[in-house]
Amino acid sequence: MKTLRPFFTLILLVLLSSQSYGQKQVTNESIEDNVLIDDTEIPFLFYGNERPSKAAIIWFEPHYGDFTEQAVAHQLASQGFSVYQPNWFEVFFLPRAYSSMAEMDGALIARFIHWVKQKANQPVYLVGASRGAVAALNGIAADASAVAGMVLLNPSIYLHKPEPMQPVRFIPAAKRCPVPIVILQPDQSTRIWWMEEVENTLRAGGASVTSTLIRGVRDGFWQRPDITPQEVGRKSLFHLDIMSAINSMETLNEN
């Protein structure tokens, strides 16, 4: 039994160290839930926290990958945000394809945003990842009144997949956004060459748009299956980038 003492001491130390420096524990599980809006069932994942929420975030996932839990959403929940991740592909019976996002009905998305706003009784921020930005913009174009701001992660807001040497067309909703936008753009991406074009398009609807480059990572690094060691490190801090973006929009809204 005596030989086991160092082992127990080690376990105790590990347990104590994980609580030190006021670190918040990341919640490990999201809750599957759904809401009926206008006879349409909207399934979503909810990442909550026992403490009162700072703000609500609606996570608009990209068209690639599966509908799975997002580590960054857990991190945001651990920092006091309530995060909702609706499965829009299931809602609209659309395949997970590039073109699907533009077909998503903005009116229903807007009504879901209102429902979240009412439920959370807090400001609502949208996070649009890649093509997820299209669904978020469709919702805002239908009704922006419940949205405090939007964070776009390497947004792709074209109407069709762009072809080289051909002019691009943006989704109509891109020019009808009046809420503040912060773009978080990984620098290992061809999108960095087109940032100005995207920013100016989004400004057409009255949105204030600012962009931040995230160094040394690729588009969608927070959910890539081929993640690099550098991206693993950046991913663990990604929620801080999103929080900083939300914080800057909060300040903007207060002014």
Binding site: P162, E163, P164, M165, V168, Q188, T190, I192, W193
Partner: protein, 164 residues
């Protein structure tokens, strides 16, 4: 009426010319440094079919297609065909260190567009992206995404461009 027609004709000519950006002289006016920091003019490859490939070390499909690109390069005489791979927005050091770590030795020119100045001209919004030019420097095909470049379909594409 004559003036209106002339304006219309001029407009059409201007439009046609603009859609053929990087036809003939435009392609040959381009120059980029290579990894040894020597400036390379694309006019050096005048008279050859050119496969202009845009890539980046951080782009997995770009890296994957490199060995097959080398095999394609080896299939054709130097006088007929050249591959020019332009690294997108990366430093000389990053590209050089990447090349040193490759299993395949690349014998075609690797050039650097550190500022990404050609991206807007070519309308590149994704990588890898390749452009095939004929012996006169006219664009004959754009190829989005990666390929196994030594497969029959791609080899035939180059053969037909050489024989044009």
């Amino acid at each position: 009426m004559k003036t209106k027609l002339r304006t219309l004709c001029l407009l059409c000519i201007a439009l046609l010319a603009s859609t053929g950006a990087y036809a003939n002289s435009s392609l040959y006016n381009l120059s980029f440094p290579n990894v040894d920091e020597q400036e390379i003019q694309l006019s050096e490859y005048k008279g050859k079919v050119i496969l202009l490939n845009f890539w980046a070390t951080w782009c997995p499909p770009c890296v994957k297609e490199m060995p097959s690109m080398q095999r394609l390069h080896d299939k054709f005489p130097e006088k007929d065909f050249e591959i020019v791979a332009i690294s997108a927005g990366e430093s000389q050091a990053a590209v050089e260190s990447f090349m040193m770590g490759l299993d395949t030795e690349l014998t075609f020119p690797i050039l650097l567009d550190e500022t990404g100045r050609t991206f807007k001209d070519f309308g590149i919004r994704g990588l890898p992206m390749s452009f095939l030019f004929d012996r006169e420097g006219n664009l004959i095909k754009t190829i989005s995404g990666s390929r196994e470049w030594d497969e029959e379909r791609e080899v035939q594409l180059i053969e037909s461009a050489i024989q044009r």
